[in-house]
Amino acid sequence: MNSHMASQATKAETYQISVHDGEAQFTASSTVNLLVAMEQARESVIGVGCRGGGCGKCRIRVLDGDYESKRMSRAWISEEDEAEGIVLACRIFARSDLCIRPEPLPLATGYQPARSVSLSQAELK
């Protein structure tokens, strides 16, 4: 995990991204996040939201393959999710061919943002 890897001058590699049921396949450059790579390929198998790791619309499970990721909102990706390969497509960069499955969540109602000390007393209803 390296939050600044996208800005590093890495040699662009191209990988094949397949959706597990064969619904779609597209190529992704290693320098472009997986969601934008999908948009550039004019595919729509993954939901597109903010493209910044905040809104959760592009939640997917990586079934096979290697990737690097940037920070993703804990409102949508728990530590357990992340360990299982559940990620936001807008925050991962392919490091091999990948097999993925969209895994959107309708709502993230259970999540409470971590607050600084002065915010902790104010419990949300």
């Binding site: 903010c50 910044g52 905040g54 409102a75 109602t109 915010l119 209803k125």
Partner: protein, 307 residues
């Protein structure tokens, strides 16, 4: 009825990467970075704003809004409203002077939609950036990016907007300027003002509590909105929709996202409101036109992409 609340004073946003966020709010939107604190928070303002700051960025593991604060005419008004908020049933927390650098004591309170709000009266006044208020020139020559002039309002999503709208009208003295009603007369959206602006805050009904739809910044002209669109493309910034016009408030607008997924708006123009104005009403079956006046079709993203 006015209760001593003047205007939106500040919004604290959670961001996933501070360096990227500062590039968005300072270099792209053109806000002025005015301070940082020992928690690592970054303070910014639009160049026309007289108070020291209006936007605070906090790095966190989720995106969204921590709180939005409204400035009152004086400390007496804050104290009076604090009592009324307690009587209304809000959980109230006193935030000491200096917790935000340059800001006096704040009174924070919760709301039915799950958002945290604040009122305060004292903040260091550094004046309009680079021009001041004594023989001021028209504008500073060293602005960057979109040259956003001020933090204008935010649109918040949550459950029970009826409750939060009632709180803002009855306790804080906001007026309902615009609304969206469904066939049964249920209010799906409310745009509230405490000034002559078409909105100082807006709410849309949504099942998840405490959500941010967007933080909005004011530009002077439609040409500025088009130029903002050019800058969004030049910087490969994540676009949402626009440039276009809203039916609600009639502002000319463009929506885009910060690098953590918080939606930003820059807009120009729009309607005005006096306290004797009846609320402007849009029917829910005209929601497409109400939100995007030219397309007349609502995109799914507007209703569901939130932080």
């Amino acid at each position: 009825m006015k209760k001593g609340v003047m205007r939106p004073g500040h919004i604290q946003l959670r961001v996933l990467d501070m360096e990227e966020a500062v590039a968005h709010y300072r270099d792209l939107l053109g806000l002025i970075e005015v301070d940082r604190d020992d928690q690592g928070r970054v303070y910014l303002k639009g160049w026309t704003e007289v108070d020291k700051f209006s936007v605070v960025l906090r790095e966190a593991d989720s995106a969204g809004m921590d709180f939005v604060g409204y400035k009152c005419v004086n400390e007496g008004a804050v104290e009076q409203l604090r009592q009324e908020l307690i009587e209304y049933g809000c959980k109230v927390e006193d935030i000491p002077e200096g917790e935000l650098k340059g800001c006096g004591r704040r009174v924070r309170f919760d709301s039915p939609t799950g958002h945290l709000f604040e009122i305060f009266a004292t903040k260091e006044q550094t004046g309009k950036w680079e021009v001041g208020n004594h023989n001021p020139e028209a504008w500073p020559r060293n602005l960057t990016g979109m040259k956003a002039t001020r933090f204008d309002h935010c649109l918040l999503y949550g459950p029970n907007i009826a409750g939060t709208i009632d709180l803002f009208r009855e306790v804080l003295g906001f007026d309902l300027a615009e609304q969206v009603l469904d066939g049964e007369g249920t209010r799906l959206a409310g745009f509230l003002t405490v000034s002559m602006k078409a909105h100082d805050v807006a709410f849309i009904e949504h099942p998840e509590p405490g959500k941010l739809h967007h933080a909005s910044f004011f530009l002077e002209t439609w040409e500025d909105v088009l130029r903002a669109a050019d800058l969004i493309s030049m910087t490969d910034t994540s676009i949402d929709i626009g440039p276009t016009r809203h039916g609600l408030t009639h502002g000319k607008t463009i929506y885009f996202f910060d690098p953590s997924g918080n939606r930003s708006e820059v807009f120009a123009g729009g309607d005005y409101h006096y306290p004797d104005h009846e609320p402007v009403t849009w029917d829910a079956d005209k929601l497409g036109k109400a939100i995007f006046y030219h397309d007349r079709v609502l995109n799914e993203r507007f209703l569901t992409v939130l932080t």
